[in-house]
Symmetry: C2
Subunit: 258 residues, 2 copies
DNA sequence: TTTTCTCCGATGGTATACCATCTTTCGCGG
DNA sequence: CCGCGAAAGATGGTATACCATCGGAGAAAA
């Protein structure tokens, strides 16, 4: 019997053959085989964290739901140890909330928390843009340019979710172009935390021209190496985003309290 | 026999009585007793993380040293499980570096990384100050004022390490006064990451007047609710700090390569 | 019927055992 | 003497077992 984990991650039969109740004595090490067969260099815990993160961000696990170690372990077919570790990873990212001697729950972010996070994200991204003006390589600029072009040309013919991810990659690329790793990491953390709110907003408030214009303005400032203009362009872009997110959340909470 | 952990954390005899080799069957739960006796609400892993964090930041564990789960577990007298978790916590804070299938090592922050982190810290603290202008309560302002007064009056008669921690609390208090929890948390993370570099710099470049003047300027801006002035004052203060840190690190690396 | 208390099940925390991998060292052949 | 390979030790990754705690269900008392 092939474990659900194997199925989920597309690991072939030769790997992770698990007979329920047989213990783990003769089961090959996942990581080891993964590495040997060049399948995955992540530890089980990281893979599980990725899986749970996606489930949370996509809404399969809703805010407030409890995340039980044993249940998830049984569902995936691994022991509790890597599940625990995955949950800790997600808690550090702010996606789940640990409670002493209780099940962790999927973090429920109210409006004020989301607003706070947006505020920080804006500051980080403005700094990213400013630094990118000095440090971005021509390749990185081209990458940003390609993303913008693609969005302009395929906005209406692409799945909204895909387009959303492309949009995200634009912002991630700016953070990367800053050349400041600590900044890019932290920026990425906040982007992930806001993923769900951004996603909900993005699929509702689709506005090709606005997005493309904003991105173009940012790109122009980066090309010109004008730090102040880049900050302003980012600020303008994200203030619109913040407004959209707020309106979506208000709408969502209003629906819930009906 | 009292375990070293108990000794280390000042936990009295009734708690965490551990007979080496006796297993854990009849040993009371640390957390439980801790809570019952109002001793500590932290889990073992968190306590260990705190201990290791201090050891790293104070220089007992030097950058580049390996952090072996088994050794630490044996030294403290607990199992590897909470040690693992503690190490993960520290890795998320950037204090230790995880390596696949290798011992984690204490993060060695070269100049460029520290510079990057300072850059982010400055941005976060400028935002904190700006927000604090709007959101700080009179109590919070008074707290900041008290800290500044204390530093002015006791700078030379206080242990440099204590004075350093007081200085840190000034900056933490500003972040808290922003009213933005996500911001305060992230700011705290960067402050911790830079603890060692800041500490080394602080004990070398003691300059009462400069620090007090800077803090006073920041405080005045906060009182006036002048966001721009607050940002500038913070920026000025931290640019001096950055310069000091850089010079200390240059000096340190020069000494090492002798 | 309501309230309180007790007990048990669910769940997270910790300890221990085992496995895969990597590193290092030692031995053998050139 | 040198280089290569195999075996053993060190170390992180995972599985499993046990314990303390907490909350709710059910019983007992008001």
């Amino acid at each position: 019997m092939k474990s659900r984990l194997a199925t989920y991650f597309g690991i072939p039969n030769l790997n992770v053959l698990k007979i329920p109740g047989s213990g783990q004595q003769h089961v090959p090490c996942h990581v080891g085989l993964c590495r040997k067969y060049r399948m995955s260099k992540e530890s089980l815990a990281e893979q599980i964290a990725n899986r749970l993160r996606r489930d949370i961000l996509r809404g399969k696990l809703l805010p407030g739901m409890s995340v039980k170690e044993r249940d998830i372990a049984a569902e995936i077919g691994v022991s509790r140890t890597p599940i625990r570790e995955a949950i800790r990873i997600l808690s550090k990212e702010g996606l789940v909330e640990l409670r002493p001697s209780r099940s962790p729950i999927v973090a429920l972010s109210d409006m004020s928390e989301v607003s706070d996070q947006i505020e920080v994200l804006v500051a980080l991204e403005k700094l990213s843009a400013e630094l990118a003006c000095k440090n971005a390589s021509s390749d990185e600029i081209k990458h940003l340019s390609d993303i913008t072009d693609y969005m302009a040309n395929h906005f209406d013919s692409t799945d909204p979710l895909d387009m959303f991810e492309i949009d995200m990659s634009f912002h991630t690329a700016i953070a990367a172009a800053s050349g400041n790793k600590a900044l890019a990491d932290t920026h990425g953390t906040f982007l992930r935390r806001l993923w769900r709110a951004r996603y909900l907003s993005a699929i509702q408030k689709r506005n090709r021209d606005r997005v493309v214009n904003h991105h173009t303005a940012i790109l122009d400032a980066l090309r010109a190496g004008d730090g102040t203009a880049a900050r302003d362009a980012i600020d303008n872009h994200l203030q619109h985003l913040a407004r959209d997110i707020r309106s979506v959340i208000e709408q969502e909470t209003a629906t819930e309290s009906e």
